[in-house]
């Protein structure tokens, strides 16, 4: 490209490159020298040794094992796991909700499309923080205390401490290996048969997973002692046993999904409407049914338009999950930039590590998006 520029333009091109580089270098250099100087005058030292120190506090909710004896590195990992949990559930729920509502928006059914319109306009125009606080303080606070919890079939309980349901665990004493081998073998066989007969990876996956689930039920029927079922029961202040979804997690996930779902619905509607009307008319004229015209002609074209802004929306959800702090859900920002920062005083290290982590997760999401985007591209022959 440079070679085709006339000499004066070439000079301008090089000049602008050098100037940009100089400005960026100067800014970075200035920041680093200020940092070094300010740290020095405050007698503060940089370093990540503190990550090996015992944290000494408890975290209210964690999907990984944690105790007051864990280190600050464990705090970081647990915060990250909690952030990822909210993000994964939120992205999945927001996408399913958004796509459904988006399809409802363009549906010929007037009532359905108007209901979808109202949902979109209400939830995308209210501030997200307000929505999180609303779900948490209004909806969940209305629930009774554990001792007066709503009781469903003596197995499912709902209180202001969360939703409790039975959970199972595998009995470690039971001899598992022959059963696992048998079930996996069956699953593989069914998956291969599924693929051979239907040529569809989806069918293969479904039959494979189905075999595992059914195999599990058969096992449970023959050997009930293999699986321990724990049913929640009231024990002092709160329920113990079983599995509990805490209101902080529920409020955050619901608010993030409903808010982002409204934006995704608009993206879906926009993408569908952006596919030329002529495409649909031509498909119908060829004798395709409405359903097939949408599935084979309109939808593949609209995916291409939809994927890039959808990834943006998922990135927004990841970042917005840090609003967890408003309801006290222990996400990365809350436990690491909040509690750990105050207990160690390592503001710079902790904030930098947290920023780098968000950046890394964001880039992973973008990379996945880029792959999906590439697969929906028009293949030119």
């Amino acid at each position: 490209m440079r070679s085709v520029l006339p000499p004066r333009r070439r000079f301008a091109w090089w000049g602008s490159q050098v100037a940009t580089l100089a400005v960026v270098t100067a800014l970075v250099g200035l920041s680093i020298s200020n940092l070094v100087q300010n740290l020095d005058t405050r007698n503060l030292k940089l370093g990540f040794d503190f990550l090996n120190q015992q944290a000494g506090f408890e975290i209210g909710f964690s999907i990984l094992p944690f105790s007051a004896k864990s280190t600050f590195w464990d705090v970081f990992v647990i915060g990250l796991a909690n952030t990822l949990l909210v993000t994964v559930i939120g992205v999945a729920a927001a996408t399913i909700l958004g796509v459904s509502v988006g399809l409802a928006r363009v549906s010929a059914n007037r009532a359905l499309s108007n209901a979808a319109l109202i949902y979109v306009e209400v939830f995308r125009n209210l501030p997200l923080l307000m929505q999180i606080l609303l779900w948490y303080n209004v909806v969940l606070r209305a629930l009774p205390a554990p001792r007066q919890a709503y009781d469903f079939w003596d197995a499912l309980f709902l209180s202001n401490r969360g939703l409790y349901f039975p959970w199972f665990s595998f009995n470690p004493v039971f001899s598992w290996s022959p059963w696992i081998a048998a079930i996996l073998l069956l699953a593989c066989l069914l998956a291969i048969t599924g693929y051979v007969t239907s040529k569809s990876a989806l069918a293969a996956t479904v039959s494979g997973l189905g075999a595992i689930v059914i195999g599990g039920f058969v096992l449970a029927a023959i050997h009930p002692e293999a699986i321990d079922v724990s049913i929640p029961r009231l024990d002092g202040f709160d329920f113990s046993e079983g599995f509990v979804v805490r209101p902080e997690l529920a409020a955050l996930v619901v608010a993030l999904s409903v808010y982002n779902g409204a934006f995704i619905a608009e993206l879906v509607r926009g993408a569908i409407e952006a596919v030329g009307r002529g495409q649909k008319e031509a498909a119908l004229a060829l004798g395709l049914s409405r359903r097939l015209a949408f599935k084979l002609v309109v939808f593949p074209q609209c995916l291409r338009i939809l994927v890039p802004p959808l990834i943006n929306q998922h990135l927004n959800l990841l970042k917005a999950s840090s609003l967890a702090i408003a309801v006290g859900y222990p996400d990365l920002v809350n436990v690491f930039v909040g509690t750990a920062l105050n207990q160690t005083g390592r503001a710079l290290e902790i904030v930098s590590l947290t920023m780098a982590t968000y950046l890394a997760i964001g880039m992973v999401i973008s990379a996945i998006g880029a792959r999906v985007n590439a697969s929906t591209r028009i293949v030119e022959r």
Partner: protein, 345 residues
């Protein structure tokens, strides 16, 4: 919206470290900066810490921490109004101080080894001998903290409370679930909504909270005090002159109470008192103020503006306030407490 502010402060700490122009670290540097600015930047509790720091409907700050800020402003600048109050959640205090966003935190911050050594902070002394306790609804029928096995506990993010409670439950082989809130309001709202069974904080904070609840009689503070929480004003460990001024401001407030010098009598006592200790304290004899770089009658001005320690306590937390908290360990040593002024000579 305060969550944004708090997040912002953590980031501010980071930003300030990479921004030039705030690094000043030598003898008198903080004092010079305050004089040049004409205003003391003083960190206090967010405006709902009744008795500690509240903003009334006329826009005037009140409370124990606020009075202490004013005392330093009088000592340094000669004017109790030359204070800019920075209301801070607990978790923002240390970052704000380290980054230079405030000169001194008069806010309740527990003096601990790690904070004093590793954080490069300097405590000027102790203005309240406090301890961590629990508040619960009478309805849950708990009389002792030892009955709390399995309880859900509301606690302040990043505080010593968060560490003490882990130690306490572990040493008594009990379990608990923490619900971490940033502010007194957030924790109190969680407690009132039944999201947690008990709220733990320093006893003084709980007494203050209880007095402001809609039905104080429905709440009970459990008898156990599970930790020592020596609270005091804290500064950056960079300007020994400023540390000394803050330390001696606290000290003369306590000394004035011990010597019976109060807001009303102070002017008159400059002339009438024959007690050499009082004469030194009030600048009648010696050149004590100059040794700190202050006016010779600085103590007279401080006491005329805010009163002595006893008056500050009674007005904000004690018998003349809504809270009516007993002096407890924060009484003078001559009355069986732990407040012991250093010799002003």
């Amino acid at each position: 919206m305060t969550e944004f502010k708090k997040m912002g402060l953590a980031l501010l700490a980071w930003a300030l470290l990479i921004t030039p122009g705030i690094a000043l670290a030598d003898q008198g540097s903080t004092v010079k900066a305050i004089s040049a600015r004409g205003e003391l930047l003083c960190g206090v509790t967010t405006g709902k810490g009744t008795g500690f720091s509240t903003l009334d409907d006329k826009g005037v700050w009140n409370g124990m921490e606020v009075d202490f800020c004013r005392a330093i402003a009088v000592a340094l600048l000669g004017d109790a109004s030359k204070v800019k109050f920075a209301p801070l959640e607990f978790k923002s205090v240390i970052a704000s101080l380290q980054s230079g966003a405030i000169d001194v935190a008069a806010r309740q911050v527990t003096w601990t080894f790690t904070r004093d050594s590793e954080f490069n902070l300097d405590w000027a002394g102790i203005y309240l001998y406090d301890g961590q306790a629990f508040i619960a609804s009478k309805a849950i029928g708990v009389d002792s903290a030892l009955d709390l096995n399995g309880a859900t506990v509301c606690v302040t993010s990043g505080s010593t409370n968060e560490l003490n409670i882990s130690d306490y439950f572990r040493s008594h082989e009990m379990k608990f679930v923490p619900i971490v809130g940033d502010s007194i309001e957030q924790n109190a709202a969680n407690l009132e909504a039944g999201r947690c069974d008990v709220y733990t904080n320093d006893l003084s904070t709980l007494v203050s909270l209880k007095s402001t609840m809609a039905k104080p009689d429905n709440w009970v503070i459990l008898p156990e005090v599970i930790s020592k929480e020596p609270l005091g004003p804290v500064v950056r460990q960079e300007d020994p002159q400023f540390s000394d001024i803050v330390r001696w401001t606290l000290n003369v407030l306590i000394a004035a109470e011990e010597l019976g010098v109060n807001k009303e009598s102070v002017i008159q006592m400059v002339e009438t008192s024959n007690n050499p200790e009082v004469q030194r304290l009030l600048g009648k004899s010696g050149e004590m103020g100059a040794k700190l770089g202050l006016a010779n009658d600085w103590v007279v001005k401080v006491i005329s503006a805010v009163g002595n320690y006893g008056e500050i306590f009674d007005r904000n937390l004690g018998k003349d306030s809504l809270i009516k908290m007993p002096r407890g360990a924060s009484a003078l040593w001559t009355n069986g407490g732990l407040l012991y002024p250093l010799p002003y000579r």
